[in-house]
Point group: C2
Chain length 390, copies 2
């Protein structure tokens, strides 16, 4: 088969707010080849990612992403790896290209899975998919009382792990943050795993992060996520030496496998969190998952958007039994929840069931796409380079 078309659908809710909720918009990618189509999602700024697919060439290493995709042969997983390498080479100096590639790569795996009637994790070489303990992923409440209510509600819903992040955490005093962590633990009770996400709030300020460790230790937090930006390796490794038994988690900002490997090799993290919609897709995420296993580090998905993205994020480590946790969005927008006919289900033990259907196993609700689609037009010198016309 040849790749005949790559189409982008930019969805957004009517009133996007400046809150840490990544499900307020979405960039969907549809790839067609032969009699098949596959769907993927970029966890990325939609307009910018579209522009990087169709922009005019700047020079030999700064070409639009389409140059490495359209017309390419697609018959085997090896073809997907070849297309990945080609895009990275042709669009080497186009920074946004990795985010655009991410959704395309997921769509290519979905397409190939449909063609062969196999779930993606099988095409990747895994014999089976292990169920993952879903951790309910949500923002801290604005007050400790609201955090407590949220914790109680995920506990009542049967989750075995829960993460609280962003919101007020790190914005106020050490005592304020401790009160939120205590409230989360009180609501969850003693047995549910507690994870905390600082959303890179401390830049590279190790002291600020270190001051929060005693409260996390006292409440038995499994990890502190993203105290610093993805690349602040020295800050990560310094904190990691002091924070035990609270492990550090990070890596969601990585847009290449190398960057995630650096977090493992030089950052001292215990959990590497990969967003398949940012790192270059399932191909790159799988590469990191294999590397993590070699290095004895636990791989976790990063997902804060749609069920389609969640399925894509599960495939790269579905067959790795020792990586047990799975980020499971519980506060995503109605748009995100209505995108697919299927949902990713949770069993009676609070575990995520990886879809066992061909490809990513999700079928798209075209009405949802039509309802939320943002119409984009990009024109250079009178020539329309992109138009959402469907």
């Amino acid at each position: 088969m040849k790749i005949e078309s790559v189409d982008f659908f930019y969805l957004a809710i009517p009133d996007v707010k400046p809150i840490g909720d990544g499900s307020q918009d979405a960039l969907l990618v549809r790839v067609r080849a032969g009699d098949y189509e596959g769907w993927g999602e970029c966890e990325a700024a939609p307009l910018v990612s579209i522009a990087s697919f169709i922009c005019p060439m700047s020079h030999s290493a700064c070409r639009p992403v389409k140059d490495g995709v359209l017309g390419q042969t697609l018959d085997t997983p090896q073809d997907i790896r070849r297309i990945n390498a080609l895009v990275r080479r042709l669009s080497f100096d186009l920074l946004q290209a990795d985010h655009t590639l991410s959704g395309i790569d997921c769509a290519l795996w979905d397409l190939l899975g449909k063609r062969y009637g196999e779930p993606v994790y099988k095409l990747l070489g895994y014999d089976r998919a292990y169920r993952k303990v879903a951790y309910a992923s949500q923002l801290f409440g604005d007050t400790p009382d609201l955090t407590y209510e949220k914790a109680l509600s995920v506990s009542n819903a049967g989750f075995r792990a829960a993460k609280f992040g962003w919101g007020p955490y790190g914005e106020g005093s050490v005592e304020d943050d401790a009160a939120h962590v205590l409230a989360a633990r009180s609501g969850l009770g003693p047995d549910i795993q507690l994870l905390v996400d600082a959303g890179t709030i401390w830049g590279d300020d190790v002291e600020a992060a270190l001051a929060r460790i005693p409260a996390l230790r006292q409440q038995g937090a499994v990890w502190l996520e993203e105290p610093f930006a993805t690349g602040a390796l020295n800050a990560y490794s310094t904190l990691a030496r002091e924070a035990g038994p609270v492990a550090l988690a990070g890596g969601e900002g990585a847009h290449t496998p190398d960057q995630a490997k650096h977090m493992i090799d030089y950052g001292g993290i215990g959990f590497v969190q990969i967003d398949a919609g940012r790192i270059g897709g399932i191909t790159s995420a799988y590469e990191v998952a294999q590397y993590a296993v070699q290095r004895g580090i636990t791989y976790v998905n990063h997902t804060f958007t749609t069920p389609l993205a969640l399925s894509a994020s599960l495939q790269p480590y579905a067959g790795i039994e020792s990586s047990r946790l799975c980020e499971y969005p519980v506060e995503s927008s109605e748009m995100a929840r209505a995108l697919t006919y299927e949902q990713i289900r949770i069993d009676g033990n609070g575990c995520v069931i990886v879809p066992d259907r061909p490809g990513l196993g999700m079928s798209l609700n075209l009405d949802t796409i039509r309802r939320y689609e943002q119409k984009v037009e990009i024109i250079v010198n009178g020539l329309t380079l992109f138009s959402s016309t469907e």
Copy 2:
């Protein structure tokens, strides 16, 4: 002063070719505040960088670059640093933002230099600017004979250092590459410093790079540049241990100071090459220059575009005497050469003279801008988010 406007001008020559010449297009940024205006340049895909300035917000950490710039107070260098930090925080998940910020940051320094009547390097805290040995930067010839001719011509032009890169290098056999390096040395004669740029051709294949070292050693090459992609730290450090006395050079792909520091800390490079038009601007480049001095590493600019970009790339290390080399484009397009009324001059010793005029010391030829400008229009849901109307 408040930042009142940020305007983008996307220039391109009529026929952009898939060759390693970054001067075929340009993205200029003009910032206005109070009675002043400053100019900068993004070394980046123009259309995509424009889109990242004006795109709709996705969530709290994925906002358009404009949110961190427009309306901000601009009176001191500290304001520029604050604006940098703000953009990096608000546009954290917008990958292209670092490239867009780069040109804006250069324009902010230019503007502030004009306001205070000082060259940017003085605002950065340097007492004086040292002249830098210009290395003539050019592509390898298609054949060794053509490489020889190019080498002869830069030798005749009085350069004391020359770099050859891209083109056929690394595409053919080890012997082919050795023939090019020999041809370059023959044309240059024994006294001119020879630098070689592999343009990331070997991915992370250490063996392939290692096979080229004997010829480089034999011809006394000072450095081998970018054998691998920016983030391939393990490959860099492995090769660095084997390649002496040929040093490794790299870092041009870094879009944050952290990434450049990783090349120094974990990649074993001897020369860190920073493009102020990619890493976030002069602010970020200066941070890396100071770090390089601390670590005993030589800082070098990366510039392959216009005299405006060259001036911006010189400021961050103008006052560091021990970092003596300067990349000096000798094959840039007529458009790039005609962009500014002033050129960056070379003295009788083959040394670059850092402009001693206010700001970046370059005035723009608006006729050149008008002649080469590409008209861009970006529309979302019928609303024009960007239009090049001047």
